[in-house]
């Protein structure tokens, strides 16, 4: 095919229209990304200045490092604990909030209010709640005769505590997205189903869930990506401990880059995280999206 003057002109116009976003993407995504990949192939001084070429050394070290494997495992556990429960809980609450009741907006605002709370503040609140000796949570448990665990001190409960906090933090967004999905379901479909004798749980699993499946899928993808990048609550509550139980990939990148000043090694982890997120998202689109019902 030969380029005519018209083709070139339209390409020029197209690029001109795209220019603002291309410039922004280049400045904030592509250039830093290229820089990260580049940095992952080098050793650096503590100040970040590049010293010697490392080739794939950092990657090889990661693949053989037990600490990195524990980190991946922690990340996976964290995602499994938070994403499904967060979405399920969001759906239940959204259905409850999708009623025509007097003052329902008050409840909607209340239930989705965590969207307005910063992760740092939320994590601090939960840090206090989880305190084994002074926290409200174990006090309430003790009132019903349960001896509460030392939440942030035992590895198994620490990851649960951080997950609970994360679910709570994302709940607001989940409710809003699902509520808007629910409100987009035409009333006629429910009416038709009712005429066919569908009730309660059957109505929920056969009508509601498929009809909001685009929203559910959207949240599944977005929440997974968000959870893989979760940092604040871990920084505030556990700093990756105890014994690395909550040292997810992002936290280990942070520690290696900004506390240990090993920028090359941290960059290599960042590249792996990027590949991981991309891979997961692809898998989600490939396999899960098939079950999504678009109207």
């Amino acid at each position: 095919m030969r380029w005519t003057a018209r083709d070139l002109r339209s390409l020029g116009i197209g690029l001109a229209y795209l220019a603002p976003s291309l410039v922004l993407f280049a400045a904030f995504v592509f250039i830093p990304l290229a820089e990260t990949i580049n940095l992952s192939l080098f050793n650096t001084r503590a100040t970040g200045a590049i010293t010697t070429f490392a080739g794939l050394d950092h990657y090889l070290e990661l693949l053989t490092s037990p600490a990195f494997r524990t980190g991946l495992l922690a990340t996976a556990i964290f995602a499994i604990y938070t994403v499904p429960i967060g979405i399920a809980l969001g759906l239940v609450l959204a259905v409850l909030l999708n009623q025509r009741l007097r003052a329902i907006n008050v409840f909607r605002t209340m239930m989705s209010s965590t969207i307005a709370i910063s992760a740092a503040v939320g994590a601090l609140i939960w840090l206090l709640l989880f305190n084994p000796s002074l926290g409200l949570l174990n006090y309430l448990l003790s009132r019903v005769g349960v001896h509460g665990p030392e939440w942030l001190i035992q590895p198994t409960t620490a990851i649960i505590a951080v997950s609970i906090t994360t679910i709570w933090l994302t709940l607001g967004t989940n409710i809003i997205v699902l509520l808007s999905g629910l409100q987009g379901v035409p009333e006629e479909i429910y009416e038709a189903a009712r005429l066919d004798g569908a009730r309660g749980l059957r109505m929920f699993t056969r009508i509601t869930v498929p009809m909001v499946s685009p929203s559910l899928f959207f949240l599944f993808v977005v929440d997974t990506v968000a959870v893989l990048q979760a940092f604040t609550q871990i920084h505030v509550m556990t700093r990756g401990g105890p014994v690395d139980a909550t040292r997810v990939l992002v936290y280990s990148i942070y520690q290696d880059a900004f506390q240990n000043f090993q920028f090359g090694f941290a960059s290599a982890q960042a590249v792996i995280l990027l590949l991981l997120v991309m891979g997961l998202t692809l898998i989600q689109f490939r396999f899960v999206e098939r079950r999504v019902h678009y109207q």
């Binding site: 050793n43 503590a46 100040t47 970040g48």
Partner: protein, 464 residues
Amino acid sequence: MRRLATLALAFTMAAAACGGTTPSGSTTPTGGAPADMSALAPAKDVAPAATLTWWHAMSGVNGDALNKIVAGFNSSQTKIKVEAVFQGTYDDLLAKLNTAIASNAAPALVQVYDIGQRYMYDSGQVVPMQAFIDRDKFNTSDFEPAVINYYKYQDKLQSMPFNASAPILYYNKDAFKEVGLDPAKPPVTFTEIADAAKKLTKKDASGATVRFGFGPSIYGWLFEQLMATSGALYADNGNGRDNRATKVVYNSAAGKAILDWWKAGVDGGYFYNPGIDNDGAANAFNAQKTAMYIESIARLRGHITTIAGKFELGAGLYPRPDSKPATGGNIIGGASLYIMKSRPPAEQQAAWEFVKYAMTPAVQAQWQSDTGYYPIVKAAYDQGPSKDWATKYPQFLTAITEIRDSPQNRTTNGAVLGVMPQARQRTQKMIESVLLGQATTQAALDAAVEDMNTQIDKYNKANP
């Protein structure tokens, strides 16, 4: 020429022999007077810049006190205006400084914590404080020796100590009286603390513990201090002071004794484990969930305010092994001020003017009474605010007594490592794994040491 070489060799060997003999060797090499560093400072006649930015990490009460010093300096003269910028925690500040250095945006004066020392030195971005001291023949003879020794590397002061602390034992005198312990005699050795903690531990009818005897948080600094009071080195090459450290060596008998003691206490149910949460440990003590704990003197003022007379607060010496090794003592903590090389000479000059002001006895005395950090300059104790302070809160003198009673040697000078922040995290993980029963004390120590040695190796290679 050959004679000169022989002489130099002999000199080097003598210096090495003096520096590396015993952990109790003096910090001052006896190999002759140190070379003058004046040349590294701007010339004396460079006029100071009109404005100066100072990054610091002091928040809350201590931040207010710091701003008071800045305001005092700004109104004491008309030539220089200091602008203090709070940059978050010590860790945050160092991370930001690192970024700023890369983009050439570092301020002229920065406050960096104790363990950032080697990193600052290796960055090559600092004008050694010694350069200004030598140039102006600034007199440091009245400075607290332990503090000044901590910030010296090979007998050169890299930075000016600013806020100096030490860890102490906090204890609840009322609880002591309640169980028949003498509130005037806090326990000092590991066994004394364990015995007192057993007595102080109280259970309710259901068997749940309502008060633990002792509740230290899992804080790497506390372990470093326990190594020092044990008279044991943390790192090789004289704690990284005779030469750059190549290994950490805390997997010694001293390290094992510390962890065994700690583990026995937690397993026995008379030590409380608040995890890595230092605030949590302090809160548990305030709420009388624990009767004793160890932390920096810098928390004392906060405790006095929070406890507000609900119980009588005692301050005792930091724990040490039963043998009370004579070579053991406490390391100073806190932070110091660095003048950055990348700024123009005029700004460095202005920074030096401010540093000198901050070191005057009157400012030091005020700083002490506002924060609890003890003065760097001994003459400060003769000043009004310091005297009033000592009368009102005698507990504050615990830290300085402790530091003055510590022999000055490589152990008590403290470890200097480029990877010190990371080493601290690693010891915390090590203590966690022991307390949680995931590893025996010796295995945990060895694993931590092995990990850190790999990191030190990496660091030393990357920062030649």
